[in-house]
């Protein structure tokens, strides 16, 4: 039986690690279908059909899926799930909201935020904030799985799946989105960025984050922050990298004025190359950094920005 991936999208494009979830699903089942539901998600459905490994896209056209309402998504996915061996989504805020609801209604367990697929029923997932990794086997007939995007490279394009129009499920009318305040940024999305420049309490103010913006723009990087910087009010919470924020694994992660608390390391230690800039030579961040530079960030960052 194929695997069904629940796509996250903004009607135009796939988002939130959907392509990574497709790549993970392809390791669980031979064939992958993708569900794309939204008011006018034709473009996103076409994009899903082009992902390698996808043979079919189920395209549902209905406005009550916009906003990712969990009750409506679960009511749509549960009847469809009977035809699949696996139901998979990225462990984004969307996937984490919807998938346990699907699992409970199917009376099956969910395997959360897997970082590797061992076999069709066995998965590896971090526990204790990534301080241990559990290998778990599911005995359920339908496996409901969320995928940590950094564990899987996104499925490449070049596929040629078909798009099939699929009837909508009920509008449960139990909840509605009143408003969304999204941080507007021309920079890449933190979760999927190839380069990330992150600041911590060492920046000492939100004003000083501007310095990081210049560096990030020169590198084409996203901006992140430690929980300390967020708690101090320097930047909004959606910048947060760590156990309680976003998990990132870019090619280059530059940690500036970040001491390296366990909870921060849990969110970035899978990055390919880590650079740490900190005035304290004893800061734990240096224990995971490939390149460390001890000194005053207010001198180093402008110089780095200039020399890169």
């Amino acid at each position: 039986m194929p695997a069904l991936v629940i796509a996250e999208h903004d009607n135009q494009q796939l988002k939130g690690g959907t392509a990574n979830a497709v790549a993970a699903a392809a390791k669980m089942a031979g064939d992958v279908h993708v569900l794309v539901a939204g008011a006018s998600a034709g473009a996103a459905a076409q994009a899903a059909a082009k992902l390698a490994g996808v043979s079919k896209v189920l395209h549902v056209q209905a406005a009550h899926y916009d906003g990712g309402i969990a009750e409506n998504y679960a009511a749509l996915v549960v009847p469809l799930a009977k035809g699949y061996s696996h139901v998979v989504a990225s462990a984004s805020a969307f996937g984490k909201n919807v998938m346990p609801r699907v699992a409970a209604l199917l009376d099956v367990a969910q395997v959360s935020e897997i970082s590797a697929v061992e076999s069709a029923d066995t998965f590896v997932r971090p526990i204790y904030a990534g301080n241990a990794f559990a290998t778990v086997q599911s005995a359920d007939a339908i496996k409901v799985v969320t995928v940590r995007a950094t564990g899987f490279d996104p499925a490449p394009g070049g596929g040629s799946g078909t798009v099939e129009s699929t009837p909508a499920g009920p509008d449960k009318q139990q909840s509605k989105v009143v408003s969304q305040e999204l941080t507007k940024s021309a920079r890449p999305e933190l979760g999927g960025a190839r380069r990330v420049v992150s600041g911590g309490r060492g920046l000492a103010s939100g004003e000083n984050f501007k310095m990081l913006e210049t560096l990030a723009d020169k590198l084409g990087a996203a901006i992140g922050a430690s929980r300390a910087a967020v708690d101090s009010g320097y930047v909004p919470n959606d910048y947060q990298v760590g156990q309680t924020g976003k998990i990132v694994a870019p090619e280059l992660y530059i940690a500036i004025g970040i001491s390296g608390a366990i909870q921060h390391l849990a969110g970035m230690k899978d990055s390919k190359v880590i650079v740490a800039i900190n005035k304290d030579p004893e800061a734990p961040i240096f224990q995971v950094a490939d390149y460390g530079l001890v000194g005053d960030l207010f001198q180093i960052v402008p110089e780095l920005t200039q020399k890169i």
Binding site: G67, A104, A109, Y128, Q180
Partner: protein, 249 residues
């Protein structure tokens, strides 16, 4: 209106966990246990709603071994009115906990269930959503603000890229994110008082719930260790290494 607050006993967040040598799990013997931090936030939010006159009673509930009584006493010392322990020594997974909580909710008929978005041991992030599904109630997860109106809860949620405000019909399930509030400490007089507050004990069988686990843990391993790298002397050397050694810029 009653508010039901499920709480979980977990390894204290300050403890650095160690994987057992036989890879059967993490070492739990002689390790400090505490209430899961997200659950503390849930208790605090429920108490604030009661103090604001939006709720009449806060009931803490926990599922697990006898020792979970300590966690419930903590919730009572913070200010919860009474507590329920669903006692079992069986391994409990989120689906089983959600079923137990549904049975408790069916008995207590709360207007709101507030619980932590995830426990810091298994990091599953499932129980609230599963409970909402089983009750066929709406869910508002990862809350950073909760306001109660006439038959609805207006919840600001932490989502990728920003915030979302969701309006859910009550009864509903809300799960807490870190920034919702700062939990109060239990004072000594309140800790003493908590010892006299009612704590009812039930068994899964009393609630007619099969708690058999669905997932089998085959092994638990240490994460791959990252080697510390080199300390460079200046920005020039750093840029050179990034360009010519790591080849990432």
């Amino acid at each position: 209106m009653k508010i039901l607050v499920p709480v979980k006993r977990v390894v204290d967040f300050n403890v650095k966990v160690r994987v057992k040598a036989d890879q059967s799990g993490v070492e739990l013997a002689n390790v400090k246990m505490s209430m899961n931090p997200f659950c503390e936030i849930a208790v605090e939010e429920a108490l604030k709603l009661r103090e604001a006159g939006k709720a009449t009673e806060v009931i803490a509930v926990s599922c697990g071994a006898v020792a979970c009584q300590e966690t419930l006493r903590t919730a009572l010392a913070m200010g919860a009115d009474r507590a329920i322990l669903v006692e079992t020594d069986a391994e409990l997974q989120p689906l089983a906990v959600a079923k137990l909580l549904k049975a408790v909710a069916d008995r207590e008929k709360p207007g709101l269930v507030i619980l932590g978005k995830q426990a810091i041991d298994d990091d599953a992030n499932q129980t609230g959503q599963m409970l909402a599904a089983l009750l066929d109630w709406p869910q508002a997860v990862f809350a950073s603000k909760v306001e109660l109106g006439d038959g609805v809860a207006r919840v600001t949620r932490e989502i990728d890229g920003g915030l979302e405000t969701l309006e859910v019909k009550m009864p509903a399930v809300v799960t807490t994110d870190l920034r919702l509030n700062t939990p109060r400490y239990a004072t000594l007089p309140n800790i003493m008082k908590a010892k006299k507050k009612p704590l009812e004990t039930l068994k899964p069988a009393d609630l007619g719930v099969d708690v058999a686990p669905r997932l089998k843990t085959l092994k638990v391993a240490e994460p791959g260790k990252r080697k510390a790298g080199v300390i460079v002397k200046d920005v020039g050397e750093l840029v050179d290494k990034l360009k010519n050694e790591a080849k990432v810029i």
